[in-house]
Symmetry: C2
Subunit: 193 residues, 2 copies
């Protein structure tokens, strides 16, 4: 998606350790006009799918998921990251290893909000090693819901997540796919039609 | 706001310890159609204010802030809750005591995204003892930005936060104000014109 790639080139900052800082428009400050364009593009790419619910994960997936949900006309559920043990009530849980924070955490969704009747589209801001997406997929699976696919804003193709998940049969649509990036050569995007 | 009060009466669950569970439409599963109505109402109430930025706090404030931002045509910044010490770069920070979780945490916003030129509207899902709102106000103050007010979805008027913050001169607009609630008598809302 050219609009997004141009924005990443202009405002993204490549940092050591495969970090791409896009916090001026995506995951700390959020450009809602851009989010509307991203939401529309997700709707265009998943136009052939019946979606009954969008699933995302706190915190930085929530904004884009909510704006995208306007075009799908469905509710959003966000998986909570629980550091505590006092999970109240009946929940689906999965373990996720964090790339950015270097630790494992648990994610959870109440059983009230995911069930066999749901056709779930996962939306998230980043796909790198795919651990968050794997965890979210497990929640959908445990709920006996149908996973129609995953819409990702930025995929780092030089990490394994996208490849592994597509090999497992998951439909992954990433609006910008980064083949490589470094502080000298900048960011190289995968050509998408 | 009648639409919201009706929804809280219908789907909200009063629990021991002054807990109101609204996770079926507000802060776990999110009803985006409802959020659009809430966003419009925030815009109506703050129509006389020049707003350049909406500030909220992760995680449950983000969805409503993003939808509201569409009507204000401004970006959203969400304050991050940091449990770790590895805060990168230059940030404003404040300490917040959590009512729900019974512990203290730190919130932070990058100095890049709040500054003296900003006219900030804070948006959050709940106002109870007011600690989150106090912390967010401090971030705005530290940035030398102007705080135009706070838009809250549900205020628990039987806790002190709303009263204290209004006494300090903050303009607080709450779309539903709960005077009292318990499992026997249900929820009593403050009449608003």
């Amino acid at each position: 998606m050219k609009l997004l790639e141009d924005r990443i080139r202009r405002d993204g900052k490549v940092r050591a350790g495969n970090i791409l800082k896009v916090d001026s428009f995506l995951n700390h400050q959020m450009d809602i006009d851009l989010f509307e364009e991203l939401g529309l593009e997700f709707k265009r790419r998943f136009a052939d799918c019946e979606v009954s619910k969008i699933l995302t994960i706190e915190a930085s997936g929530i904004g884009i998921a909510c704006i995208a949900a306007r075009y799908f006309k469905v509710p959003v559920v966000f998986a909570k990251k629980s550091k505590t043990k006092n999970i109240a009530g009946d929940v689906y849980t999965a373990k996720v290893e964090s790339f950015t924070h270097g630790r494992e955490y648990e994610i959870m969704v109440s059983k009230d909000f995911l069930g066999p009747e749901d056709k779930v589209l996962i939306i998230d801001d980043f796909l790198a090693n795919g651990n968050a997406l794997l965890g979210l997929s497990k929640l959908v699976e445990d709920a006996d819901a149908t996973l129609v696919g995953a819409g990702i804003v930025i995929e780092k193709a030089f990490q394994e997540g996208g490849k592994l998940l597509r090999q497992k049969g998951l439909r992954v649509e990433s609006l910008a796919i980064i083949e490589s990036m470094d502080e000298i050569n900048g960011i190289i995007f995968r050509r998408q039609d």
